[in-house]
Amino acid sequence: MRDVALSIEQLTVEVEGREILHSVNLEMRLGDTQVLFGPNGSGKTTLLMAIMGFPKYRVTKGKITFKGQDITMLPLDERARLGIGMSFQRPPVVRGVKMRDMVTACLRGRESEEGINQLAEQANLTDFLDREMNYGFSGGEIKRSELMQLLAQRPTLTLIDEPESGVDLVNIALIGDLINTLLEKDCPIPERRCMGLIITHTGHILDYINARTGYVMCDGVIGCEGDPREILATIREKGYQECVSCFRRRRTSGG
């Protein structure tokens, strides 16, 4: 069995004094791609932000272990340097900071003109290298830019928040390709050195990416775990309402 590289135990997270996640457990091994489903407001983004280590997402209980190290209290930037990376759903505009500067920063000393140009070409963003970060970007451009930065950063754990939101059909195939590259999908699983946790509300991205495990998050807890396609089929047929009622039924009967 491959080693557990990320382990989340009993994680409870508060945002501005309000508890959003309640005792969440999750495990990931190198080579894994896991998908997090859930209705809006269920806590999916909070989980990603808490793993990444944003100060606003305060862990009140539980533990996050990454590559054998307890990172529960580790600052955001140290987690990034340890190998956690995130594709933001709505990244901020950073005026005056060029995409080239960001990619260079992500490469942390490994940068070369040629390497940067190659990455840009791969993400179809060659004309964007001298644009200000996220300024006037379309939905698809934002996603491609986020993934390009991650390709430069090469994290062990990639957290991806809604890769398909606001993206047209032409872009989504390219986004799928970029995620597959990032998660080393062309390598046999035992040889992969990375893993990905992807939030999807609609599940469209699963037409382009294979994932092994799916979770449904409801009311700040992981309600169920299973084959992502099976979960998606149920959601598509019955809607998230069914997941929420199922979860609430079980919680009531289970005590």
Partner: protein, 411 residues
């Protein structure tokens, strides 16, 4: 020195304005400064200047040792012009006193872009003027390298009164770097500089001014620009070093169709610095355009960032962008953007923003592995990066160097 061009009318108007306070900025008492004495012009080989002076000049963008990348050089120390030279045909660089002797017609340009009775500072320059530079490109001449001018304040407590005239004849192209700096890091002084620019039909002028003063110096530049049909004036102003008090509000007037003006300013104020800086553009001819962009950073000083665009002709277009960043609690930035339109069919807009570094942006960069201080430095560097269209690469690189060299002081 013959002063035939400064007619009695100018003198009379100036005398009437000797006590007239400036419209903006705190008042300055001339009495605390040493009265300027007439200094004889002397010729000094710039590379033979003391190393310390050369280093100060270099910080303000003036290269004295290897001048191969300069079309011409003018240096004024205190109130004496000490050097002027030209390396390219079609360009004239000389002390304005010499130009007044050479060209009778120069009086037609004297106090035409700036009013002599604007305030006590213009009046003082008229009554006690000691040189300044004259730069002119002949019709159709294009400078590849910039002309550099240095106004150097070496004597403590001195008032430097200069009057500069810049003329770009029709279809010529002129790039100027002006570095204004002082020998001392601590001694008081007052710099009064009148600059009048005349951009003729189809001519293009870029004017990059770097100010490197010290925390005891007060500065009151007075600048006027007149741009004719299809002319372009592009001004870049950089103040990254401390100054006690600076007030300026250069005004450009587009008098010919399709004339274009851009003002870019980068201002920083540390504790004890007080800046009141703006750019004013009057669009008086059809289809003229302007863009005024300023970036202001305070680490404890006070900055008033003004901007004014007035549209008085059909199809004019103007945009004013003023952004301020407060990096320390004591700093003040007061943005005052103003627009005035006097007829239908004009397009004037502005945006102004004052704030601190956004935490969300810092965290975004930290999520890419930058430390908090690296992230803040990257954002500040980005904030100061004004993309300047139409600037030759060499000048762009010099401007970037001037900003980069000082930005670490901010953090």
């Amino acid at each position: 020195m013959a002063k035939t061009t400064s007619s009695d009318t100018h003198k009379n108007k100036a005398r009437a304005a000797v006590a007239k306070p400036a419209a903006f900025g705190e008042d300055i008492d001339f009495d605390i400064y040493v009265s300027p004495v007439k200094e004889q012009p002397s010729e000094v080989e710039p590379s033979k200047l003391p190393a310390r002076d050369k280093a100060r000049m270099l910080e303000a963008g003036v290269v004295v040792d290897n001048r191969s990348q300069r079309a011409g050089t003018f240096i004024q120390m205190n109130n004496a012009a000490i050097h002027s030279s030209v390396r390219q045909e079609g360009v004239e660089v000389m002390a304005v006193s010499q130009a007044l002797e050479k060209y009778d017609w120069l009086s037609d340009y004297w106090w035409k872009a700036v009013a002599v009775d604007t305030d006590k500072f213009t009046a003082n320059v008229e009554l006690n003027q000691h040189n300044g530079y004259f730069v002119r490109t002949l019709p159709g001449s294009k400078t590849i390298y910039p002309v550099q001018a240095c106004l150097y304040l070496a004597k403590a407590g001195l008032v430097q009164n200069v009057h500069n005239i810049i003329i770009a004849e029709e279809n010529s192209e002129l790039h100027i770097i002006t570095g204004c700096t002082s020998a001392s890091n601590e001694e008081a002084g007052l710099h009064l500089g009148v600059s009048e620019f005349y951009i003729k039909k189809g001519a293009k002028v870029t004017f990059t001014m770097i100010h490197n003063w010290n925390p005891e110096i007060a500065v009151r530049p007075r600048t006027g620009v007149i741009i004719e049909e299809n002319g372009l004036f592009l001004s870049n102003y950089v103040l990254m070093k401390p100054v006690r008090s600076l007030q300026m509000y250069p005004a450009a007037r587009c008098v010919g169709e399709n004339a274009v003006v851009r003002f870019n300013s980068i201002l920083t104020a540390g504790p004890g610095s007080s800046l009141d800086v703006g750019s004013r553009v009057i669009l008086d001819a059809k289809a003229t355009k302007t863009e005024i962009i300023s970036r202001a950073i305070t680490t404890g000083g006070r900055i008033i960032a003004r901007g004014y665009i007035e549209g008085n002709a059909p199809d004019v277009k103007g945009h004013l962008e003023c952004r301020g960043l407060i990096l320390a609690g004591e700093g003040i930035i007061h943005a005052i953007p103003e627009l005035k339109g006097t007829l239908a069919g004009i397009d004037l807009s502005h945006e102004a923003a004052v704030g601190k570094i956004a935490e969300e942006e810092v965290e975004y960069l930290m999520a890419r592995g930058l430390t908090r201080s690296e992230a803040a430095a990257t954002i500040v560097r980005g904030f100061l990066r004004v993309d300047i269209q139409g600037l030759p690469p060499l000048l762009g690189a010099e401007l970037k160097r001037a900003v980069d060299a000082s930005e670490k002081d901010l953090m």
